[in-house]
Amino acid sequence: MSDAPDTTAVADSPLDAFAEDLAQRLGALGHIVEFGTVRILVDRDAWVDTILEANRELPFFSWLSAIDWSKETEVGEGVDDPDQMEERFEVICRLSSVETADAAQFVASLPKEDPTIGSLAPHIGGASWHEREAHEMFGIMFDGNDHLIPLYLPDDFEGNPLLKSYPLISREVKPWPGDVDVEGMPETADDADEAAAEDEEVAE
């Protein structure tokens, strides 16, 4: 495996055609097909209308969530190329068919300073809990959902835990893998060499 992104590897043509057709009919901003996964990019002002329109042919409401795209991050590895990336939230909603394998992710970008988007909850009952979760985890506001009370978190909890700026306390206290684990992570140079040598050995 190379590090270079090879996004067209699994994208077969019927899926491309499906995505292109769907995006065109919905008047979406664009579409991305990678690894057998369809993403339809939607303008945030057209969010509710587009989803409801798509919901007619993809009736199954699977899930709704968000991604926090941040240049700097307190947890994990962060993004590949911070300079090129625009900081934003992405709200993702997945709809699928209940007859075929057809499905699509609908994605809208929200600016960090105004993370507000229309609510699907009044139209799609299943969206209510997912929106509450996205609200408490990312701080995204869903316009029209008047029941955005915490779902998982205690009532007095402060902060939005899934934000990249929110530290993972257990990691701060004790870095992985912890003192008791004497085996180094495979990322160390020695280990990688050893692994490469071993791989050759196996290949023979």
């Binding site: 495996m1 190379s2 590090d3 270079a4 992104p5 090879d6 996004t7 590897a9 990678e34 690894f35 057998g36 996964t37 993403r39 009736p59 199954f60 409401f61 699977s62 899930w63 969530s65 991604i67 926090d68 947890v75 994990g76 590895e77 962060g78 993004v79 590949d80 993702i92 997945r94 068919s97 209940v98 007859e99 075929t100 394998a101 992710q105 799609i124 009952g125 299943g126 209510s128 809990w129 997912h130 915490p150 779902l151 998982y152 978190l153 205690p154 835990p161 899934l162 993972l168 992985w176 495979p186 990322e187 280990d191 990688a192 692994a195 490469a196 071993e198 791989d199 196996v202 290949a203």
Partner: protein, 394 residues
């Protein structure tokens, strides 16, 4: 007080017109029928539930956040703890998704082993339902029978993976090479334990038998039927709107099964019927699950015949890095559609992992379905949805 709109479905209790002011009834978080720690704040009017607010999150472990600081190989150890009743089945969609990202394909034999263990997990999960659900309705005998038989399945899973509930058996590019191995320097390619298929075939015969037993104990039972037939009806359109999947969706007349509609592993090479029913009530949800055990037995028998010999793992680099991209991978778990949305930024760890857990969506219909129901039906309806709180809270 009772408005006409509130009177529907099972209409047998409370016929005396009493003035009953609204009362708030707190059910849980410690309650035998809540399968973990679920709290329901119900506003009731006499014996009728007017409004219900489920309170979840008592078991929230933050797996989505934890996954952001773990490598792909480490995450399988987390995800099998989401729905602990069918731990193995949770690993499959994740590892299939990672393999799709990395462009790795597991060897044929590993795929079949995953399929067999997934079906064993399904049988085991449904047997838990077959024990707990009648118990909640007052029938204690099926519990003993089902849990006894489940032990045979768990023993098979333990024999192969080393764990009864948390197998952590899937690896990127195959399955764990050696049971009880753990050596990082010697790559011994050991196979499944000797006689495993023989014992699995024997266990499948037992499963056929226990299905017949449960059938005779529960299916035609007058008392069970009175508690479940026509109770908690979920129409197909509501099930779809709330994202119900698995047996809960199929009981409502939507015969949608990802193993058929969007085949993964080697499900396209086995024959089985999608169990479904049409009424969408508690009884149908039970019937569908019982039939699914029988179909799983059918699948496992075919798999034992068809499994090819060969390696259990394909060659992958020691340091696993996924290329940049986003992938959604889903599987038909015992409880329904289980999926992972993996966002990779080209590193060793996912940038974001969204876990689409089945019970979360299955449970989200509670406020709708419980409205206007009788308090005694509440337990019957909740039990029929077959949720696990770990799967709800993640």
């Amino acid at each position: 007080m009772t408005s006409p709109a509130m009177i529907h479905r099972s209409e047998s209790a409370v016929s005396v017109e009493l003035q009953t002011p609204d009362m708030t009834l707190n059910i849980g978080p410690q309650h035998p029928s809540t399968h973990g720690v679920l709290r329901l704040v119900a506003k009731i009017d006499g014996e009728r539930v007017r409004d219900v607010e489920p309170v979840i999150g008592y078991m929230h472990r933050g797996y989505e956040k934890l996954s952001e600081v773990r490598t792909y190989a480490q995450i399988t150890a987390l995800v099998n703890r989401i729905d602990w009743v069918s731990g193995f089945a949770n690993e499959v969609p994740f590892i299939v998704g990672v393999e799709r990202l990395m462009g790795v394909e597991a060897p044929e034999r590993a795929q079949w082993i995953r399929l067999i263990l997934s079906e064993l997990a399904r049988i085991s999960s449904h047997l838990v339902f077959m024990s707990s659900y009648p118990l909640e309705l007052g029938a204690t005998t099926p519990l003993m029978h089902s849990l006894r038989e489940r032990e045979y399945i768990l023993e098979l899973i333990e024999e192969v993976t080393g764990g009864r509930f948390h197998p952590n058996f899937n690896r990127v590019g195959g399955v764990k090479p050696a049971y009880g191995g753990g050596s990082t320097t010697k790559k011994q390619s050991m196979d499944l334990p000797a006689g495993f298929f023989q014992r699995t075939a024997e266990a499948m015969d037992r499963m056929d038998k226990i299905c017949d037993d449960i059938d005779s104990l529960v299916t035609g039972n007058e008392l069970i039927k009175m508690r479940t037939v026509g109770v908690g009806i979920i129409p197909a359109d509501k099930a779809i709107e709330y994202g119900l999947s698995g047996p809960n969706l199929r009981a409502s007349g939507v015969a949608y099964d990802l193993r058929k509609a969007d085949p993964y592993l080697t499900y396209d090479q086995v024959e089985f019927d999608v169990a479904s029913a049409s009424d969408g009530d508690c009884y149908d949800r039970y019937v569908v699950r019982l039939e699914e055990i029988r179909q799983s037995v059918r699948i496992v028998r075919q798999a034992i015949d068809k499994i090819p010999s060969g390696p259990l793992q394909t060659k992958v680099p020691r340091v696993l890095k996924a290329p940049k991209g986003q992938v959604y991978s889903r599987a038909e778990n015992p409880k329904g559609e289980f999926g992972y949305y993996i966002v990779s930024e080209g590193g060793k760890m996912p940038y974001r992992l969204k876990i689409r857990s089945t019970s979360f969506s299955n449970l989200s219909i509670l406020p709708w379905i419980l409205q206007g129901q009788l308090v005694p039906d509440l337990v019957a309806i909740m039990g029929s949805l077959d949720f696990v709180l770990g799967d709800v809270d993640r």
